[in-house]
Protein backbone atom coordinates (compact mmCIF):
# COMPACT_ATOMS: atom_id res chain seq x y z
CA UNK A 1 0.00 0.00 0.00
CA UNK A 2 2.71 2.62 0.65
CA UNK A 3 3.87 1.81 -2.88
CA UNK A 4 0.49 2.80 -4.21
CA UNK A 5 0.65 6.01 -2.22
CA UNK A 6 4.02 6.78 -3.74
CA UNK A 7 2.76 6.14 -7.23
CA UNK A 8 -0.24 8.35 -6.69
CA UNK A 9 1.85 11.15 -5.29
CA UNK A 10 4.57 10.94 -7.92
CA UNK A 11 2.34 11.71 -10.81
CA UNK A 12 0.46 14.23 -8.69
CA UNK A 13 -3.03 12.89 -9.41
CA UNK A 14 -5.68 12.72 -6.72
CA UNK A 15 -5.87 8.98 -7.03
CA UNK A 16 -6.12 7.36 -3.66
CA UNK A 17 -5.86 3.75 -2.67
CA UNK A 18 -8.50 2.20 -0.45
CA UNK A 19 -7.54 2.53 3.19
CA UNK A 20 -6.53 -0.60 5.02
CA UNK A 21 -7.83 -1.33 8.48
CA UNK A 22 -4.31 -1.05 9.89
CA UNK A 23 -3.90 2.56 8.89
CA UNK A 24 -4.04 4.84 11.92
CA UNK A 25 -5.56 7.59 9.80
CA UNK A 26 -7.35 7.56 6.47
CA UNK A 27 -9.12 10.60 5.05
CA UNK A 28 -11.18 10.56 1.86
CA UNK A 29 -12.74 13.45 0.02
CA UNK A 30 -12.62 15.74 3.05
CA UNK A 31 -13.99 19.20 2.35
CA UNK A 32 -14.33 21.90 5.02
CA UNK A 33 -15.60 25.43 4.60
CA UNK A 34 -15.77 28.29 7.11
CA UNK A 35 -17.55 30.70 4.80
CA UNK A 36 -18.13 30.52 1.08
CA UNK A 37 -14.52 29.63 0.27
CA UNK A 38 -13.42 26.09 1.16
CA UNK A 39 -10.62 25.83 3.72
CA UNK A 40 -9.95 22.29 2.57
CA UNK A 41 -11.08 20.79 -0.70
CA UNK A 42 -11.47 17.08 -1.28
CA UNK A 43 -8.45 15.94 0.69
CA UNK A 44 -7.43 12.30 0.44
CA UNK A 45 -4.67 11.17 2.75
CA UNK A 46 -3.43 8.07 4.51
CA UNK A 47 -0.92 7.83 7.34
CA UNK A 48 0.59 4.34 7.59
CA UNK A 49 1.26 2.87 11.05
CA UNK A 50 4.34 3.77 13.06
CA UNK A 51 5.17 6.87 11.04
CA UNK A 52 6.17 10.37 12.03
CA UNK A 53 4.16 12.42 9.57
CA UNK A 54 4.30 16.15 8.90
CA UNK A 55 1.47 18.18 7.43
CA UNK A 56 3.06 21.13 5.66
CA UNK A 57 1.83 23.97 3.50
CA UNK A 58 1.71 27.77 3.47
CA UNK A 59 -0.28 29.90 5.91
CA UNK A 60 -4.00 29.48 5.33
CA UNK A 61 -3.46 26.14 3.60
CA UNK A 62 -5.85 24.45 6.03
CA UNK A 63 -3.28 22.46 8.03
CA UNK A 64 -4.86 23.08 11.46
CA UNK A 65 -8.31 22.77 9.92
CA UNK A 66 -7.38 19.31 8.63
CA UNK A 67 -6.55 18.13 12.16
CA UNK A 68 -9.71 19.72 13.59
CA UNK A 69 -11.88 18.17 10.88
CA UNK A 70 -10.30 14.75 11.45
CA UNK A 71 -11.14 15.11 15.16
CA UNK A 72 -14.65 16.40 14.50
CA UNK A 73 -13.92 19.76 16.16
CA UNK A 74 -14.98 21.55 12.98
CA UNK A 75 -17.72 20.02 10.83
CA UNK A 76 -16.81 18.64 7.41
CA UNK A 77 -19.03 19.40 4.43
CA UNK A 78 -18.20 16.03 2.94
CA UNK A 79 -15.75 13.20 3.17
CA UNK A 80 -14.98 10.35 5.52
CA UNK A 81 -12.39 9.93 8.26
CA UNK A 82 -11.44 6.53 9.58
CA UNK A 83 -9.11 5.97 12.50
CA UNK A 84 -7.65 2.45 12.66
CA UNK A 85 -10.28 1.36 10.17
CA UNK A 86 -13.30 2.56 12.17
CA UNK A 87 -15.13 5.90 12.46
CA UNK A 88 -13.82 8.43 14.99
CA UNK A 89 -16.69 7.84 17.43
CA UNK A 90 -15.49 4.27 17.94
CA UNK A 91 -11.79 5.07 18.15
CA UNK A 92 -11.63 8.12 20.43
CA UNK A 93 -9.70 6.14 23.01
CA UNK A 94 -6.90 5.51 20.49
CA UNK A 95 -6.41 9.09 19.35
CA UNK A 96 -5.14 12.21 21.12
CA UNK A 97 -4.80 15.83 20.15
CA UNK A 98 -2.34 18.55 21.14
CA UNK A 99 -3.94 21.86 20.13
CA UNK A 100 -2.02 25.01 19.36
CA UNK A 101 -0.67 26.49 22.55
CA UNK A 102 -2.31 29.85 21.84
CA UNK A 103 -5.77 28.30 21.47
CA UNK A 104 -6.41 28.34 25.22
CA UNK A 105 -6.34 31.00 27.92
CA UNK A 106 -3.27 30.22 30.03
CA UNK A 107 -4.60 32.53 32.71
CA UNK A 108 -7.20 29.87 33.54
CA UNK A 109 -7.17 29.19 37.30
CA UNK A 110 -5.66 25.72 37.40
CA UNK A 111 -2.38 23.93 38.06
CA UNK A 112 -0.04 22.02 35.78
CA UNK A 113 -0.99 18.63 37.24
CA UNK A 114 -4.71 19.39 36.72
CA UNK A 115 -4.10 20.00 33.01
CA UNK A 116 -2.31 16.64 32.69
CA UNK A 117 -5.13 14.93 34.62
CA UNK A 118 -7.51 16.17 31.90
CA UNK A 119 -5.87 13.57 29.67
CA UNK A 120 -7.11 10.88 32.06
CA UNK A 121 -10.71 12.14 31.89
CA UNK A 122 -12.01 8.99 30.20
CA UNK A 123 -10.51 6.82 32.96
CA UNK A 124 -12.01 8.71 35.87
CA UNK A 125 -15.34 6.90 36.03
CA UNK A 126 -18.82 8.17 36.66
CA UNK A 127 -18.07 10.59 39.50
CA UNK A 128 -14.83 11.81 37.91
CA UNK A 129 -12.88 11.14 41.07
CA UNK A 130 -9.12 11.58 40.80
CA UNK A 131 -7.39 8.75 42.67
CA UNK A 132 -3.83 8.31 43.70
CA UNK A 133 -2.84 6.15 40.73
CA UNK A 134 -4.23 8.80 38.38
CA UNK A 135 -2.07 11.40 40.06
CA UNK A 136 1.00 9.16 39.83
CA UNK A 137 0.36 8.51 36.16
CA UNK A 138 0.04 12.24 35.49
CA UNK A 139 3.30 12.89 37.34
CA UNK A 140 5.05 10.19 35.30
CA UNK A 141 3.87 11.89 32.09
CA UNK A 142 5.14 15.25 33.34
CA UNK A 143 8.45 13.59 34.12
CA UNK A 144 8.66 12.28 30.58
CA UNK A 145 8.61 15.85 29.23
CA UNK A 146 10.93 17.12 31.97
CA UNK A 147 8.24 19.06 33.83
CA UNK A 148 7.75 16.99 37.01
CA UNK A 149 9.05 19.84 39.19
CA UNK A 150 6.30 22.10 37.90
CA UNK A 151 3.30 19.93 38.87
CA UNK A 152 1.98 22.36 41.49
CA UNK A 153 2.54 25.55 39.48
CA UNK A 154 -0.25 27.72 38.20
CA UNK A 155 -0.25 27.33 34.41
CA UNK A 156 -0.03 31.09 33.86
CA UNK A 157 3.49 31.06 35.33
CA UNK A 158 4.88 28.82 32.57
CA UNK A 159 6.93 29.93 29.59
CA UNK A 160 5.69 29.12 26.09
CA UNK A 161 7.93 26.09 25.81
CA UNK A 162 6.83 24.79 29.20
CA UNK A 163 3.18 25.22 28.23
CA UNK A 164 3.81 23.16 25.11
CA UNK A 165 5.43 20.40 27.16
CA UNK A 166 2.48 20.33 29.56
CA UNK A 167 0.14 19.92 26.58
CA UNK A 168 2.29 17.03 25.36
CA UNK A 169 2.21 15.45 28.84
CA UNK A 170 -1.59 15.66 28.79
CA UNK A 171 -1.60 13.80 25.48
CA UNK A 172 0.83 11.18 26.83
CA UNK A 173 -1.54 10.57 29.74
CA UNK A 174 -4.15 9.37 27.24
CA UNK A 175 -1.87 6.51 26.21
CA UNK A 176 -3.13 6.74 22.64
CA UNK A 177 -1.89 5.06 19.47
CA UNK A 178 -2.31 8.07 17.20
CA UNK A 179 -1.01 11.52 18.19
CA UNK A 180 -2.20 14.61 16.32
CA UNK A 181 -0.18 17.71 17.17
CA UNK A 182 -0.85 21.23 15.89
CA UNK A 183 2.44 23.13 15.49
CA UNK A 184 4.13 21.66 18.58
CA UNK A 185 7.38 23.50 17.81
CA UNK A 186 5.89 26.94 17.21
CA UNK A 187 7.53 29.59 19.35
CA UNK A 188 9.32 27.22 21.73
CA UNK A 189 12.91 27.39 22.97
CA UNK A 190 15.60 25.04 21.66
CA UNK A 191 15.56 22.91 24.84
CA UNK A 192 11.83 22.36 24.52
CA UNK A 193 12.11 21.52 20.83
CA UNK A 194 14.69 18.87 21.71
CA UNK A 195 12.57 17.52 24.58
CA UNK A 196 9.48 17.29 22.38
CA UNK A 197 11.19 15.63 19.44
CA UNK A 198 12.80 13.11 21.81
CA UNK A 199 9.39 12.20 23.22
CA UNK A 200 7.86 11.96 19.74
CA UNK A 201 10.71 9.70 18.59
CA UNK A 202 10.21 7.48 21.63
CA UNK A 203 6.53 7.23 20.69
CA UNK A 204 7.53 6.14 17.22
CA UNK A 205 9.88 3.55 18.77
CA UNK A 206 6.82 2.23 20.64
CA UNK A 207 5.12 1.71 17.23
CA UNK A 208 2.76 4.61 17.77
CA UNK A 209 1.89 7.05 15.00
CA UNK A 210 2.56 10.78 15.18
CA UNK A 211 1.10 13.45 12.88
CA UNK A 212 2.29 17.05 13.27
CA UNK A 213 1.23 20.24 11.60
CA UNK A 214 4.68 21.64 10.96
CA UNK A 215 5.88 24.97 9.63
CA UNK A 216 9.67 24.75 9.76
CA UNK A 217 10.70 23.30 6.41
CA UNK A 218 14.34 23.13 7.51
CA UNK A 219 13.65 20.38 10.04
CA UNK A 220 11.19 18.25 8.05
CA UNK A 221 13.82 15.84 6.74
CA UNK A 222 15.40 15.47 10.21
CA UNK A 223 12.23 14.92 12.20
CA UNK A 224 9.77 13.17 9.92
CA UNK A 225 9.59 10.16 7.64
CA UNK A 226 6.23 10.85 6.01
CA UNK A 227 4.87 14.09 4.66
CA UNK A 228 1.54 15.51 3.50
CA UNK A 229 1.78 18.70 1.46
CA UNK A 230 -1.42 20.69 1.20
CA UNK A 231 -2.64 24.04 0.06
CA UNK A 232 -6.43 23.80 0.43
CA UNK A 233 -6.11 20.83 -1.94
CA UNK A 234 -3.66 18.03 -1.51
CA UNK A 235 -0.40 18.62 -3.34
CA UNK A 236 1.41 15.40 -2.49
CA UNK A 237 1.77 12.73 0.15
CA UNK A 238 4.23 9.97 0.81
CA UNK A 239 7.62 9.20 2.36
CA UNK A 240 9.82 12.25 2.91
CA UNK A 241 12.48 10.78 0.66
CA UNK A 242 10.27 10.83 -2.42
CA UNK A 243 7.67 13.47 -1.60
CA UNK A 244 9.52 16.35 0.09
CA UNK A 245 10.92 17.61 -3.21
CA UNK A 246 11.57 21.04 -4.65
CA UNK A 247 8.84 20.52 -7.25
CA UNK A 248 6.20 19.60 -4.68
CA UNK A 249 7.22 22.47 -2.40
CA UNK A 250 7.01 24.89 -5.29
CA UNK A 251 3.56 23.52 -6.11
CA UNK A 252 2.39 23.95 -2.49
CA UNK A 253 3.92 27.32 -1.73
CA UNK A 254 3.93 28.86 -5.21
CA UNK A 255 5.86 32.07 -5.45
CA UNK A 256 5.84 32.47 -1.69
CA UNK A 257 8.86 30.22 -1.37
CA UNK A 258 11.90 31.64 -3.11
CA UNK A 259 13.98 29.15 -5.07
CA UNK A 260 17.02 30.25 -3.08
CA UNK A 261 15.21 29.21 0.10
CA UNK A 262 14.41 25.79 -1.30
CA UNK A 263 18.09 25.33 -2.14
CA UNK A 264 18.99 25.77 1.51
CA UNK A 265 16.68 23.01 2.65
CA UNK A 266 18.08 19.60 3.29
CA UNK A 267 16.03 18.04 0.56
CA UNK A 268 16.42 14.31 0.11
CA UNK A 269 18.54 13.30 -2.84
CA UNK A 270 16.55 11.12 -5.19
Amino acid sequence: MPVAVQLASRDGRAVHPAASADDPLAVQGLTVSYGEKPALFSIDATVPPGRMAAIIGPNGAGKSTLLKAVLGIVPALSGTVTVFGVPLAKSRHRITYVPQRASVDWDFPTRVIDVVLMGLYRELGLLHLVRRHHREKALACLDRVGMADFAGRQIGQLSGGQQQRVFLARALAQNADLYLLDEPFAGVDAATEKAIIDVLKSLKAEKRTVVCVHHDLATVADYFDHVLLINVRKIAEGPVATTFTADNLQAAYGGRLATAHIDQLKLPVI
Binding site: T65, G72, I73, A102, D107, M118, Y121, R122, H128, G156
Partner: protein, 311 residues
Protein backbone atom coordinates in the same frame (compact mmCIF):
# COMPACT_ATOMS: atom_id res chain seq x y z
CA UNK B 1 -31.81 39.63 67.09
CA UNK B 2 -35.20 38.74 68.36
CA UNK B 3 -38.68 38.05 67.19
CA UNK B 4 -38.81 41.04 64.93
CA UNK B 5 -35.70 39.84 63.12
CA UNK B 6 -37.30 36.48 62.35
CA UNK B 7 -40.47 38.13 61.17
CA UNK B 8 -39.03 40.93 59.06
CA UNK B 9 -35.44 40.12 58.14
CA UNK B 10 -34.78 36.39 58.22
CA UNK B 11 -36.59 35.45 54.99
CA UNK B 12 -35.38 38.43 52.90
CA UNK B 13 -31.84 37.69 54.07
CA UNK B 14 -32.14 34.00 53.20
CA UNK B 15 -33.67 34.76 49.79
CA UNK B 16 -31.00 37.36 49.09
CA UNK B 17 -28.18 34.95 49.94
CA UNK B 18 -29.71 32.10 47.91
CA UNK B 19 -30.30 34.35 44.89
CA UNK B 20 -26.76 35.69 45.06
CA UNK B 21 -25.24 32.19 45.29
CA UNK B 22 -27.45 30.78 42.50
CA UNK B 23 -26.19 33.48 40.14
CA UNK B 24 -22.56 33.47 41.29
CA UNK B 25 -22.11 29.71 40.63
CA UNK B 26 -22.71 29.77 36.85
CA UNK B 27 -21.13 33.24 36.79
CA UNK B 28 -17.72 31.67 37.50
CA UNK B 29 -17.82 29.67 34.28
CA UNK B 30 -19.44 32.41 32.22
CA UNK B 31 -16.64 34.83 33.14
CA UNK B 32 -13.89 32.31 32.31
CA UNK B 33 -15.60 31.66 28.97
CA UNK B 34 -15.75 35.43 28.33
CA UNK B 35 -19.53 35.19 28.26
CA UNK B 36 -20.21 37.28 31.37
CA UNK B 37 -22.58 39.47 29.40
CA UNK B 38 -24.98 36.57 28.86
CA UNK B 39 -26.10 36.88 32.50
CA UNK B 40 -26.71 40.54 31.90
CA UNK B 41 -28.64 39.74 28.74
CA UNK B 42 -30.87 37.13 30.38
CA UNK B 43 -31.65 39.30 33.38
CA UNK B 44 -32.84 42.06 31.06
CA UNK B 45 -34.92 39.97 28.70
CA UNK B 46 -37.02 38.46 31.47
CA UNK B 47 -38.86 41.80 31.67
CA UNK B 48 -40.57 41.57 28.25
CA UNK B 49 -41.23 37.88 28.94
CA UNK B 50 -43.02 38.68 32.16
CA UNK B 51 -44.99 41.56 30.64
CA UNK B 52 -46.15 39.39 27.74
CA UNK B 53 -47.15 36.63 30.16
CA UNK B 54 -49.14 39.19 32.15
CA UNK B 55 -50.83 40.58 29.05
CA UNK B 56 -51.88 37.09 27.98
CA UNK B 57 -53.12 35.82 31.34
CA UNK B 58 -54.22 39.16 32.75
CA UNK B 59 -53.04 38.41 36.26
CA UNK B 60 -49.89 38.30 38.31
CA UNK B 61 -49.31 34.65 39.04
CA UNK B 62 -46.04 32.90 39.39
CA UNK B 63 -46.04 30.10 36.85
CA UNK B 64 -47.17 32.03 33.75
CA UNK B 65 -44.62 34.70 34.58
CA UNK B 66 -41.83 32.19 35.10
CA UNK B 67 -42.76 30.55 31.78
CA UNK B 68 -42.83 33.94 30.08
CA UNK B 69 -39.40 34.75 31.47
CA UNK B 70 -38.00 31.39 30.45
CA UNK B 71 -39.50 31.76 26.97
CA UNK B 72 -37.97 35.21 26.60
CA UNK B 73 -34.55 33.81 27.64
CA UNK B 74 -34.76 31.18 24.92
CA UNK B 75 -35.82 33.79 22.35
CA UNK B 76 -32.87 35.95 23.43
CA UNK B 77 -30.32 33.10 23.20
CA UNK B 78 -31.60 32.17 19.72
CA UNK B 79 -31.56 35.83 18.61
CA UNK B 80 -28.00 36.27 19.88
CA UNK B 81 -26.85 33.19 17.95
CA UNK B 82 -28.66 34.37 14.80
CA UNK B 83 -27.24 37.89 14.91
CA UNK B 84 -23.79 36.47 15.60
CA UNK B 85 -23.91 34.13 12.60
CA UNK B 86 -25.88 36.18 10.07
CA UNK B 87 -24.28 39.49 10.95
CA UNK B 88 -20.82 37.96 11.50
CA UNK B 89 -20.24 40.17 14.51
CA UNK B 90 -18.63 39.38 17.82
CA UNK B 91 -20.78 37.77 20.54
CA UNK B 92 -20.59 40.76 22.91
CA UNK B 93 -22.12 43.07 20.32
CA UNK B 94 -24.81 40.52 19.45
CA UNK B 95 -25.74 40.22 23.13
CA UNK B 96 -25.74 43.98 23.60
CA UNK B 97 -28.05 44.57 20.65
CA UNK B 98 -30.40 41.76 21.68
CA UNK B 99 -30.90 42.49 25.34
CA UNK B 100 -31.18 46.26 25.06
CA UNK B 101 -33.80 45.93 22.30
CA UNK B 102 -35.80 43.32 24.18
CA UNK B 103 -35.60 45.24 27.45
CA UNK B 104 -36.74 48.41 25.66
CA UNK B 105 -39.62 46.45 24.14
CA UNK B 106 -40.53 45.27 27.64
CA UNK B 107 -40.57 48.81 29.03
CA UNK B 108 -42.60 49.99 26.05
CA UNK B 109 -45.15 47.21 26.48
CA UNK B 110 -45.38 47.94 30.18
CA UNK B 111 -46.05 51.64 29.61
CA UNK B 112 -48.63 51.02 26.89
CA UNK B 113 -50.57 48.34 28.69
CA UNK B 114 -52.90 48.79 31.62
CA UNK B 115 -50.77 47.53 34.45
CA UNK B 116 -51.48 50.37 36.87
CA UNK B 117 -53.78 48.22 38.95
CA UNK B 118 -51.19 45.57 39.64
CA UNK B 119 -47.79 45.56 41.25
CA UNK B 120 -45.80 45.33 38.05
CA UNK B 121 -43.67 48.26 37.07
CA UNK B 122 -40.19 49.04 35.89
CA UNK B 123 -39.02 49.82 39.38
CA UNK B 124 -40.18 46.42 40.61
CA UNK B 125 -38.39 44.80 37.69
CA UNK B 126 -35.13 46.57 38.46
CA UNK B 127 -35.03 46.52 42.25
CA UNK B 128 -37.34 43.64 43.09
CA UNK B 129 -39.10 43.68 46.41
CA UNK B 130 -36.75 41.92 48.75
CA UNK B 131 -37.91 43.98 51.74
CA UNK B 132 -41.50 42.85 51.28
CA UNK B 133 -40.70 39.13 51.36
CA UNK B 134 -41.40 38.99 55.08
CA UNK B 135 -42.66 36.12 57.21
CA UNK B 136 -45.78 37.64 58.75
CA UNK B 137 -46.97 34.70 60.83
CA UNK B 138 -43.62 34.27 62.55
CA UNK B 139 -43.40 35.43 66.13
CA UNK B 140 -39.88 34.35 67.00
CA UNK B 141 -37.25 31.68 66.42
CA UNK B 142 -39.77 29.12 67.67
CA UNK B 143 -41.76 29.59 64.47
CA UNK B 144 -39.08 27.64 62.62
CA UNK B 145 -40.53 24.55 64.32
CA UNK B 146 -44.16 25.53 63.94
CA UNK B 147 -45.71 23.82 60.88
CA UNK B 148 -48.49 26.36 60.67
CA UNK B 149 -46.11 29.30 60.56
CA UNK B 150 -43.77 27.48 58.18
CA UNK B 151 -46.63 27.00 55.73
CA UNK B 152 -46.87 30.76 55.54
CA UNK B 153 -43.25 31.31 54.43
CA UNK B 154 -43.00 33.44 51.28
CA UNK B 155 -43.17 31.11 48.23
CA UNK B 156 -40.13 32.92 46.81
CA UNK B 157 -38.03 31.32 49.55
CA UNK B 158 -39.08 27.83 48.52
CA UNK B 159 -38.51 28.51 44.80
CA UNK B 160 -35.15 30.13 45.38
CA UNK B 161 -34.03 27.24 47.60
CA UNK B 162 -34.99 24.66 44.98
CA UNK B 163 -33.26 26.58 42.17
CA UNK B 164 -30.08 27.19 44.18
CA UNK B 165 -29.89 23.53 45.19
CA UNK B 166 -30.51 22.45 41.59
CA UNK B 167 -27.72 24.67 40.30
CA UNK B 168 -25.32 23.56 43.04
CA UNK B 169 -26.00 19.88 42.29
CA UNK B 170 -25.62 20.40 38.52
CA UNK B 171 -22.35 22.28 39.04
CA UNK B 172 -20.97 19.46 41.20
CA UNK B 173 -22.21 16.74 38.84
CA UNK B 174 -20.76 18.30 35.68
CA UNK B 175 -17.72 19.84 37.38
CA UNK B 176 -14.97 18.08 35.43
CA UNK B 177 -16.44 18.21 31.93
CA UNK B 178 -17.45 21.82 32.55
CA UNK B 179 -13.99 22.79 33.75
CA UNK B 180 -12.30 20.88 30.93
CA UNK B 181 -14.43 22.36 28.18
CA UNK B 182 -14.13 25.85 29.65
CA UNK B 183 -10.34 25.57 29.58
CA UNK B 184 -9.92 23.79 26.24
CA UNK B 185 -13.08 23.21 24.24
CA UNK B 186 -11.33 21.57 21.28
CA UNK B 187 -9.53 19.02 23.41
CA UNK B 188 -12.68 18.37 25.45
CA UNK B 189 -14.61 17.48 22.32
CA UNK B 190 -11.92 14.98 21.27
CA UNK B 191 -12.57 13.17 24.57
CA UNK B 192 -16.20 12.78 23.53
CA UNK B 193 -17.50 15.50 25.86
CA UNK B 194 -20.61 17.07 24.26
CA UNK B 195 -19.24 20.61 24.48
CA UNK B 196 -22.07 22.34 22.62
CA UNK B 197 -24.71 20.74 24.85
CA UNK B 198 -22.69 21.62 27.93
CA UNK B 199 -22.34 25.22 26.80
CA UNK B 200 -26.07 25.45 26.18
CA UNK B 201 -26.74 23.80 29.55
CA UNK B 202 -24.59 26.39 31.30
CA UNK B 203 -26.51 29.23 29.70
CA UNK B 204 -29.73 27.40 30.58
CA UNK B 205 -28.70 27.12 34.23
CA UNK B 206 -27.81 30.82 34.22
CA UNK B 207 -31.25 31.56 32.76
CA UNK B 208 -32.98 29.52 35.48
CA UNK B 209 -30.99 31.35 38.16
CA UNK B 210 -31.72 34.72 36.58
CA UNK B 211 -35.45 34.08 36.24
CA UNK B 212 -35.82 32.77 39.79
CA UNK B 213 -33.71 35.55 41.26
CA UNK B 214 -35.41 38.21 39.17
CA UNK B 215 -38.76 37.09 40.51
CA UNK B 216 -37.48 37.43 44.07
CA UNK B 217 -35.03 40.28 44.04
CA UNK B 218 -35.12 42.15 40.70
CA UNK B 219 -32.67 42.39 37.85
CA UNK B 220 -30.00 44.68 39.33
CA UNK B 221 -28.87 42.16 41.90
CA UNK B 222 -28.93 39.44 39.24
CA UNK B 223 -26.57 41.33 36.95
CA UNK B 224 -24.22 42.15 39.81
CA UNK B 225 -24.16 38.61 41.22
CA UNK B 226 -23.32 36.98 37.88
CA UNK B 227 -20.19 39.07 37.59
CA UNK B 228 -18.94 40.71 40.80
CA UNK B 229 -18.43 37.75 43.20
CA UNK B 230 -16.77 35.45 40.60
CA UNK B 231 -14.59 38.28 39.28
CA UNK B 232 -13.49 39.18 42.82
CA UNK B 233 -12.97 35.48 43.62
CA UNK B 234 -10.69 35.03 40.59
CA UNK B 235 -8.35 37.62 42.11
CA UNK B 236 -8.15 35.69 45.39
CA UNK B 237 -6.87 32.37 44.05
CA UNK B 238 -5.36 30.53 41.12
CA UNK B 239 -7.49 27.41 41.48
CA UNK B 240 -10.96 27.06 40.07
CA UNK B 241 -12.15 25.00 43.07
CA UNK B 242 -11.12 27.75 45.48
CA UNK B 243 -12.42 30.43 43.16
CA UNK B 244 -15.93 28.96 43.25
CA UNK B 245 -15.77 28.72 47.07
CA UNK B 246 -14.65 32.36 47.31
CA UNK B 247 -17.40 33.46 44.93
CA UNK B 248 -20.03 31.78 47.12
CA UNK B 249 -18.59 33.49 50.19
CA UNK B 250 -18.47 36.89 48.47
CA UNK B 251 -22.04 36.47 47.20
CA UNK B 252 -23.33 35.59 50.67
CA UNK B 253 -21.41 38.44 52.34
CA UNK B 254 -22.71 40.90 49.74
CA UNK B 255 -26.28 39.79 50.35
CA UNK B 256 -26.08 39.99 54.16
CA UNK B 257 -24.05 43.20 54.35
CA UNK B 258 -26.08 44.85 51.63
CA UNK B 259 -29.37 44.01 53.28
CA UNK B 260 -28.23 45.19 56.70
CA UNK B 261 -26.69 48.43 55.41
CA UNK B 262 -29.76 49.19 53.31
CA UNK B 263 -32.02 48.70 56.32
CA UNK B 264 -29.98 50.35 59.03
CA UNK B 265 -27.29 52.42 57.30
CA UNK B 266 -29.46 55.48 56.72
CA UNK B 267 -30.60 55.35 60.36
CA UNK B 268 -26.98 55.25 61.54
CA UNK B 269 -26.32 58.30 59.39
CA UNK B 270 -29.26 60.12 60.94
CA UNK B 271 -31.69 59.56 58.09
CA UNK B 272 -35.15 58.13 58.43
CA UNK B 273 -35.81 55.95 55.40
CA UNK B 274 -34.18 52.70 54.38
CA UNK B 275 -32.71 52.39 50.87
CA UNK B 276 -33.24 49.62 48.32
CA UNK B 277 -31.79 46.36 49.61
CA UNK B 278 -31.17 44.96 46.11
CA UNK B 279 -29.38 48.13 45.09
CA UNK B 280 -27.24 48.04 48.23
CA UNK B 281 -26.40 44.34 47.76
CA UNK B 282 -25.20 45.10 44.23
CA UNK B 283 -23.23 48.07 45.57
CA UNK B 284 -21.53 45.97 48.27
CA UNK B 285 -20.59 43.29 45.72
CA UNK B 286 -19.07 46.01 43.56
CA UNK B 287 -17.14 47.35 46.53
CA UNK B 288 -15.80 43.87 47.29
CA UNK B 289 -14.63 43.62 43.68
CA UNK B 290 -12.97 47.02 44.05
CA UNK B 291 -11.18 45.95 47.23
CA UNK B 292 -9.95 42.70 45.68
CA UNK B 293 -8.66 44.65 42.68
CA UNK B 294 -6.54 46.68 45.09
CA UNK B 295 -5.51 44.13 47.67
CA UNK B 296 -6.16 40.53 46.53
CA UNK B 297 -3.14 38.21 46.17
CA UNK B 298 -3.59 37.48 42.46
CA UNK B 299 -4.69 40.89 41.27
CA UNK B 300 -1.65 41.31 38.98
CA UNK B 301 -3.56 39.69 36.15
CA UNK B 302 -5.62 42.81 35.64
CA UNK B 303 -4.69 44.51 32.41
CA UNK B 304 -3.09 41.36 31.01
CA UNK B 305 -4.43 41.01 27.47
CA UNK B 306 -6.22 37.72 26.79
CA UNK B 307 -4.28 35.15 24.77
CA UNK B 308 -4.45 35.95 21.10
CA UNK B 309 -6.61 33.56 19.14
CA UNK B 310 -5.14 31.59 16.30
CA UNK B 311 -6.81 29.21 13.97
Amino acid sequence: MGDEFVQLSLTPLAIGVLAAVACALPGNFLILRRQALIGDAISHVVLPGIVVAFLITGKISTWPMMLGAAGASIVAVVLIEMIKRLGRIEPGAAMGVTFTSLFAAGVFLLEQSDTSSVHLDVEHALYGNLESLIWLSADGWGSLLDPQALADLPPELFRMTVVTLLIAVLTALFWRPLKLSTFDEGFASTLGIPTATLSFGLVGAAAIAAVAAFDAVGSIIVIAMFICPPAAARLMTNRLEAQVAWSIAFAAVSAVLGYVIAGYGPLWLGGTDAVSAAGMIATVSGMILGLTCLFAPHRSRIGVPPGSEQS
